[in-house]
Amino acid sequence: MPVRTSTSTSGTSTPSRSESHGRGAPSTRGAPAGEGSLRAGPTVVRRVLVRRLATLLPLAWLVVTLTFVVVHAAPGSYADTIDNPRLTPQGRALLMQRYGLDQPLLTQYLRWLGAVVTGDLGTSFLFQEPVSEVIGRALPPTALLAGTALFLDLVLGLVLALAAVRRPYGIVDRLTTVLALGLYGLPTFWLAGIAILVFAVWLGWLPPSHMHGIDADRLGAAARLADLVRHLLLPALTLGVVGAAATARYLRATLLDVQSSRWLLAARARGLSERRLLWVHTLRPALLPVITLLGLSLPLLVSGSVVVETVFSWPGTGRLLWWAAQARDVPLILGITLVGAVAVIVGNLAADLLYAAADPRARGDA
């Protein structure tokens, strides 16, 4: 009979994730988000997989359609954002015509949707290039930044959580709680600004922005990599540290749950060493929900952080979205939203599947 984990949280609530992280708090503890039916045999898993994949298309359609409506509900258009003293009202009318913005909304929508079905996301107004190319170019920098930040997030979060639960409500726990909540409460743009001020302006250790220095194209491969790492550190730390604060709070709660479990009591009664108790009997079950966390973080690897990428001039999709929104570049906004929506759906699904694979109870073979 599978042993259910207690869902009591030792009085600590899981902080919700910030907007810039693009991932929400897991909906359950010790169980995969959503699909409870994944706790069954492989056939069921397959059936669920098919069902979830079938919802992908309508969901993605719904998201982009809502985005289309919202973007057009706001007054103004791309032609209004052109900053050029030479642009006359007649020129503006020509621009509206050039981009098809003079057409009825339904026509614009159907035209866009029809093209998307054939794999064509349209041409960006702002970059005068196919949207797929613009997004394709922004994805690797975003994946690099978000991936590094996610790694820092998990490692730092785990270290903080372990330090905290060694003596629950002891001095270290209280200090890490204050630190984690403090960091988590800071607005990311503020933290980013302070990081730039301290490490780039005052200390001069790290560059304040961009992915490369101005002479990067003249550097050899090794020097170029070192240049990239130097530029990556500040934004990745800013993003990672805020995430780590939330992860630490979350892991602390699950670790405490496990510590009060009957199986740990039984293991301790069998005379196992503290080290074995920690690494095998506490950490393993406590880390299972991290899979869910990871799944929810996957979209971040695709959609990026608007705030951090903008402040640090990082050429990723987050910054692209900010830019597109500013310029009312409708095809680009819709393209990024579509890619982001697919990433969220796939991320959730991947988390559930991974969870099912990792947790013997969820596989139904425990």
Partner: protein, 541 residues
């Protein structure tokens, strides 16, 4: 109607803006002899839109592309004292036909594209075809409305044929840079927006493309085939794209960026006090105003509008909002332009007279609540401006206070730029605080001529004065600047008397420049006006 009604509104809020200016003296220090080599780094808010100048619509892109593609002539910065003069560029000289309907340019025989092919009259003809191609829809095509044909007389001679004589013929011929026919003419215009222009761009200006990392950096390098021997001095001109104004300022202060346009007035002292920087200040051809909705009572009453203008202290706005980097605006033509009417009577700051005018219009504080009323209705207005501009919001609050002083209740409302434009176009406003940036061409038609319903116009106030309309028509038909001047004077007098706008302040551009950059003449013709003469003594940090 004039061929190019380019009085435009610049206002893309505080976020964008490109400073323009006047004939300022060379502003940077000149130390030692110019030495070739070195790099200058410019901070930019936005990326280059396209390497094809006829697909790039914004001013920043245009300024960069002008360094790569040649122009027939270069407009000089003397347009404040007299109509603008032009210096030779790709064209070494030009002459007019007797009837002034044909203009012949002689091209520099040394000019070549960066692939070694000479720049010829065919390129000029192709450029004109591109500018006027309906299936391309170049938004600035109206400057070519009066040009009937462009003819390649021989490879080094090109002739523009006009349908009429008017003062801005040369300016209109020169509008837009020349692009390479031999490389681009095979691509149908319908496919231009799906073409990778980075691969097809060719240079004939002082710089050529070295690299472009989108959202990061544009690197231009010296064009070795540029026809001016020994120019430019700089090896590279690097544009770092930083999408936040505060980050740009930080990078200027840390030396990561050498040049930054549009330093906000409140940061001027920081730049001025920085040991390695200097601040360049010049009028930027912009003026701010309150646009009153003349369709709505009581704003349809000229006495009320005059009272509103007299109640507002422009000097206070200059000192408080702009930290002194502005001056009071007097009328629809900038006060230091050749076309400005020097006999214009400025509206004084006179709250007592404002109260008198309002009383004359029937507005009195009959219930003693401090707000004027008439027929039981309080004198209350909404003042609209865009939330992106702190300068305009601060102005709005000062205006609110001034108006309260004469018993007018003004409610400031800050909305997003798109909302502001939408409400202005619909005529759904009382007063809008906004700003125009004037072109070097003096053309008052777009803003001040009465517009037929549905006609694209910048006349959002509903201003319609038959005498002004008639005069604007005469100005449009005048063949010389001297014939235009008395007509322009009269129009200014009429508009100032009508006060459809409360003219607030003429603004200034503030540019931060690192002391290591020498020889730079930064002025309102554009930040890179004499970039081929810039030089540096040290590499950037």
């Amino acid at each position: 109607m004039g061929s190019a009604r380019r009085l435009v509104f610049a206002c893309l809020a505080a976020t964008l803006v490109v400073g323009c200016q006047r004939a300022a003296p060379p502003s940077a220090t000149t130390r030692g002899a110019p030495a070739p080599g070195g790099t200058v780094v410019v901070g930019l808010l936005g990326d280059l839109q396209s390497w094809n100048p006829y697909l790039a619509e914004d001013e920043d892109s245009y300024q960069i592309l002008r360094l790569v593609y040649p122009s027939l002539a270069i407009e000089q910065t003397d347009y404040r004292t007299h109509p603008p003069a032009f210096a030779p560029d790709l064209a070494t000289s030009w002459e007019w036909s007797e009837d002034h309907l044909a203009l012949t340019f002689h091209l520099n025989p040394k000019a070549t594209w960066s692939d070694g092919v000479p720049v010829t009259s065919e390129d000029v003809v192709f450029t004109w075809r591109t500018q006027t191609a309906p299936d391309l829809g170049w938004p600035y095509a109206s400057s070519k409305d009066s040009i009937d044909d462009v003819e390649a007389v021989d490879p080094a001679t090109v002739r523009f044929h006009y349908s009429r004589v008017y003062p801005y013929q040369l300016m209109d011929a020169n509008d837009g840079v020349i692009v390479p026919a031999h490389r681009w003419s095979q691509i149908p215009y319908g496919r231009w927006r799906d073409t990778d222009w980075r691969q097809l761009a060719l240079a004939a200006g002082p710089f050529r493309i070295a690299s472009h990392e989108p959202q990061q950096q544009i690197t231009l390098e010296r064009n070795p085939t540029y026809w001016r021997a020994g120019r430019p001095y700089l090896d590279r001109l690097v544009f770092r794209i930083v999408p936040s104004r505060s980050s740009l300022l930080t990078q200027l202060l840390t030396g990561d960026v050498d040049l930054l346009e549009n330093v906000p007035p409140e940061d001027a002292e920081r730049v001025r006090d920085a040991p390695d920087l200097h601040l360049i200040v010049f009028p930027d051809r912009g003026y701010s105003q309150i646009r009153w909705n003349l369709r709505r009572p009581p704003l349809d009453d000229v006495r009320v509008r005059r009272a509103l203008s007299e109640a507002i202290d422009r000097r206070l706005i200059v000192d408080v909002v702009y930290d002194g980097f502005a001056r009071p605006s007097l009328g629809p033509v900038l006060s230091d332009m050749w076309a400005f009417d020097t006999h214009l009577e400025p509206v004084p700051h006179d709250p007592a007279d404002a109260r008198r005018l309002l009383a004359e219009a029937g507005w009195r504080d009959s219930d003693g609540d401090g707000v004027l009323d008439r027929d039981g209705q309080p004198l209350s207005l909404e003042l609209l401006t865009n939330a992106e501009s702190e300068l305009r919001q601060d102005t709005c609050l000062l205006v609110q206070e001034d108006l309260a002083g004469v018993g007018i209740q003004a409610e400031p409302r800050f909305v997003e730029w798109g909302t502001l434009l939408a409400r202005e176009r619909k005529g759904d406003f009382d007063g809008i605080i906004s700003r125009w940036i004037e072109p070097t061409m003096v053309d008052l038609w777009e803003v001040w001529h009465s517009a037929a319903p549905g006609e694209p116009t910048l006349n959002s106030t509903g201003y319609a004065n038959p005498e002004v309309d008639q005069l604007l028509g005469q100005i449009d038909e005048a063949t010389t600047f001297s014939a235009q001047k008395p007509l322009l004077d009269r129009v200014q007098q009429l508009i100032v008397a009508d006060q459809p706008y409360t003219f607030l302040v003429e603004t200034m551009a503030l540019v931060g420049l690192n002391d290591r950059v020498h020889g730079a003449d930064i002025n309102d013709a554009g930040p890179y006006f004499n970039v081929d003469q810039w030089y540096v003594n040290t590499e950037p940090q």
